[in-house]
Symmetry: C2
Subunit: 575 residues, 2 copies
């Protein structure tokens, strides 16, 4: 009959790599069936119980306590195994302290002052303290540790953004700085793509796939998976976009995130739109309205993000049409859209695409019920009316055949001093009016003059749906509309996005509320040879060495022997 023996050690600090090794050493002793060496958190105790390794004496262990438990074939075997713990601990200590190591981050910085980076992977409850110290010393921090509270994250990122430093993390698995991987990182060649990721394995999957496709990356900036939460507000993510937009070697930016807070995602995309470079976006769980919006390309998966980025980088596709639009010709107060459609599907698609630009668009055939126009005859704010709806066609020809109703409405909308843009669809083909632009063109010209006489500028935009073989002559229809002063395109999406950009600009608050004043991250600190100081998992330092990166390992111990009250006093003295 098997026997389980346990030992609880209080106040002892060992890193998790060491705990794993101790557990493995114990488990392979003769006669031992299983072993656990783990801190006494509730989750860990549940886990031990689940695998039948939690004797009654261990149930009261506290999170700071180290539980050492073995199950052996005999009671003697279990007791013997536990008796070897100290020997195993000491054996390990003696092997690891052969070379000289600084005992503190300060000392390490004195020894290697040119290091711009500190890697932190100590246990979660000490990680914020070490990070604070690194920021005080003006270093960028790669913060691998998890179990750091969101309040600590907010505080650390406030400090870092004020100082123009990056805090990548907490719980940041991966970063790649000019070919050097920090934490978990694949060996990826240098190339024209920069990645910002609130997603550790997301960054790994995307950069690996970019490499597999023959391309490479400049920087892979990890932010920690919580960076796009409402509380944190994408501080590091926005720093990352800013850095990559300024980096001349980054030609395409990829943004990846675990499911972000919708509002924060919007804010990030708004900034990304002004990056001045193509940006490929994969925010998991968040499906965008369109594949392509200005310079943004939305990818359906991590692999797709890599593929799109490589394609754009290879093609050297320039940024799509300047997203700034001329709005100074509009009079004050002009801000609304009126869409007067004959095609129901085009009207729906317009509403759908406008979600990217405007908070709310009313319609007589709305995408969402709450946006139903109370009275189809009276527009309000941004409005799209489908004049082909049943309500308009009892005993009346469809508006593709009879322009009368639409022309009346067009002139009515043009008289509204708040209207800035009027959109029309002109659908050609058999069955439709034989010369719609011949009637709509003069009405457009009249509407624009009417607005002009009142001191306003009226933008009339029109999609023309048709082919070069249609009976109305496509080119002639387009010419007549253009001659009337309309902005014309055969793609509904293109016209709607053009209108959307104008309306978005007209409806933006004059003074853009700036985020808390931050110092930009100095590109130069990222461009040089990476030199680092490592506090925590030794394997991370070994990996840097393997990549040819100078690194100092700090022989770190919790301050004040891990006593939290003392730690807090020490911390205050340093401020």
């Amino acid at each position: 009959m098997a026997s389980i023996k346990v030992e609880i050690r209080s106040g002892a600090y060992y890193d998790s790599a060491f705990l794993m090794q101790l557990q493995r050493s114990l488990a392979t002793l003769p006669g031992v069936q299983d072993a656990g060496v783990i801190m006494g958190t509730e989750a860990n105790k549940e886990l031990l119980a689940h695998i039948d390794l939690l004797p009654a004496e261990a149930e009261s262990a506290k999170p700071d306590d180290l539980i050492i438990v073995v199950r052996a074939e005999t009671e003697t075997g279990a007791i013997e195994a536990l008796s070897k713990v100290d020997e195993l601990i000491n054996r390990r200590k003696s092997t690891s302290s052969q070379e000289h190591r600084p005992q503190s981050l300060e000392t390490a910085v004195q020894e290697l002052p040119e290091a711009e980076w500190v890697l932190v992977s100590v246990a979660g409850r000490y990680a914020a303290g070490v990070t604070r110290q690194a920021l005080r010393l003006n270093k960028h921090v790669f913060l691998f540790s998890d179990n750091v509270s969101v309040d600590e994250e907010i505080e650390l990122k406030q400090i870092s953004s004020e100082k123009g430093l990056l805090v990548m993390g907490p719980d940041c698995g991966t970063a790649i700085i000019r070919g050097v991987g920090l934490g978990f990182a694949n060996k990826v060649r240098l190339g024209p793509i920069g990645v910002v990721a609130a997603a550790g394995t997301g960054l790994q999957q995307v950069t690996s796939h970019i490499h597999q496709l023959g391309s490479g990356i400049t920087y892979g900036i990890g932010t920690g998976g919580r960076d796009l939460s409402e509380k944190v507000g994408a501080v590091t993510f926005l720093q990352g976009i800013d850095v990559l937009s300024r980096d001349p070697e980054t030609r395409v930016i990829v943004l990846v995130s675990k499911p972000p807070a919708p509002k924060v995602a919007e804010k990030v995309l708004e900034v990304a739109r002004r990056a001045g470079k193509p940006v490929v976006v994969n925010f998991i769980g968040r499906t965008p309205a369109a594949r392509q919006v200005d310079n943004l390309t939305f990818a359906g998966s991590l692999d797709d993000a890599a593929e799109q980025a490589v394609k754009i980088a290879n093609q050297g596709t320039p940024v799509a049409e300047e997203s700034k639009v001329k709005i100074d010709r509009f009079a004050p107060g002009q801000r609304y859209l009126r869409g007067l459609f004959s095609g129901g599907t085009l009207a729906y698609e317009a509403q759908f695409i406008l979600q990217d630009y405007l908070p709310r668009v009313f319609a007589n055939a709305p995408l969402n019920k709450e946006n139903r126009l109370p009275n189809s005859l009276v527009s309000q704010e941004h409005t799209i009316v489908d004049l082909g709806e049943d309500e308009f066609t009892v005993g009346r020809l469809h508006p593709m055949m009879d322009n009368e109703l639409r022309i009346r409405r067009l002139l009515e909308e043009a008289a509204d001093p708040q209207v800035a843009v009027i959109m029309l669809d002109v659908v050609l083909g058999y069955g439709s009016h034989p010369d719609p632009a011949g009637e709509l063109g003069p009405a457009i010209a009249k509407a624009r003059k009417l607005a002009e006489a009142a001191g306003r500028y009226l933008e009339v935009v029109a999609v023309v749906t048709g082919t070069d073989e249609d009976p109305q002559t496509l080119d002639h229809q387009i010419e007549q509309l253009k001659a009337a002063g309309a902005w014309v395109h055969p793609s509904n999406e293109t016209v709607v996005r053009y209108a959307g950009r104008i309306l978005q600009a007209l409806n933006q608050p004059k003074e853009q509320p700036e985020a808390a004043a931050t110092t930009p991250v100095a590109l130069a600190t990222l461009q040089g040879t990476l030199i680092a100081i490592n506090v925590g998992l030794e394997s991370f330092a070994e990996n840097l060495t393997a990549q040819g990166t100078p690194v100092i390992q700090v022989d770190w111990r919790p301050p004040a022997g891990g006593n939290e009250r003392l730690m807090s006093i020490l911390e205050k003295m340093k401020k």
Copy 2:
């Protein structure tokens, strides 16, 4: 001071083209400022009031009443204008009745029995009756009329599907049958793309753009915008997909819809997946999880749909990997997925993609809160566990460095008789375990043997994230996993979709509930030369003639002089 005069005519039937012409004629009489000729529906009366053309006498007009109203400079002018109404009506009658025309649909069919199509564009309240008659005569119907109730639509489509006939509509703006446009339709060249559209201008925009891109279409099957509502249940849409999947000349299918009911959209996509051809989908307002799912490509806009379809047609891309998977090797009862991840982002992406295949997946880090796994140590139904979550890493190495916890869990899941598929991620690179497959491989082999010994088949699938330059040697890692019997791929998406297809198949009810037994539409009736009978707007017949299509115009009048009670009796006698 202007004067308004009105005349109400009860029980008179004129088609809407005629009403428009009468209105225009009145409006251009000398001294007349404005005129309205319109049926007395509430919406129409509101509109007249809105443009100041509704005198008190007209306010009580009923929907069947024709309102004729003029506003003239003087009272005499208004009275004179109204006095010319009969003359204008008679002038029009005499011009339009010069040639012989059959007075009924039956007569027309006798004269042109080879016509397979009837176009219906009479006023909404008569349209269902004419359609019923056409179906009785075994004709496909293009039903342009709107203002047809949804109950009538359901009834008509039940009749048509039982007879293997198409009812395109009601409110179907457009169809193109082998190059011939019905209703509103652009001149589009013949080509390899077939379109089914619950979206009139959607069909026009997509087919026009296909033409502009140099390609063309076989059929453009309109269904009416309500076909994908819950009540109608996509009867015509599914007939359309079925026809196009059987048509050898259609190489790519495009599906377009105004915002569909989500459940109906799911059903349609399920059928589309079995079409045996590439299918491009643009359902407005409904953003899919992924760009590509098996043979389905999701487009972001109408233009994008056209572009994707042309690209696929040009490339001749074959249908993606056979979507049927082998499931007969699983034992009865095996049906669940257990995903054991070390990468949080990969775990999120897996959940996101699995939405395409499974109704619910539990997780310790769920995409939606309601899918939170109550106990992270105990899987239930389909479950994805991220072993890198904070709860698992207090004083324990990350699962990318230490495989122990995952191997324990793997063996536990393998022992569950309901488990069919286990998914793992193996993330290589600096920082990760130096030989993860060296430890996971044997565990996978052991897990599979354990299941085999219990008479089950266990599918273990693994994504390997890494590059050929990673320290672990990518190929060697993949080989070891494959040698252990795992299905391995470097794309997370590919692995998840492979697993998703298996699990979807295992969880499908044995007997697939069939839709109401329908007769397939005979392809031959669509393939021949289009010959048609037109009931309603004369311009539709003229357009067919212009396209070289034989057509007979029926000189249609409402039965029983438009008396609804009599109409209903006549209708019953015919059944």
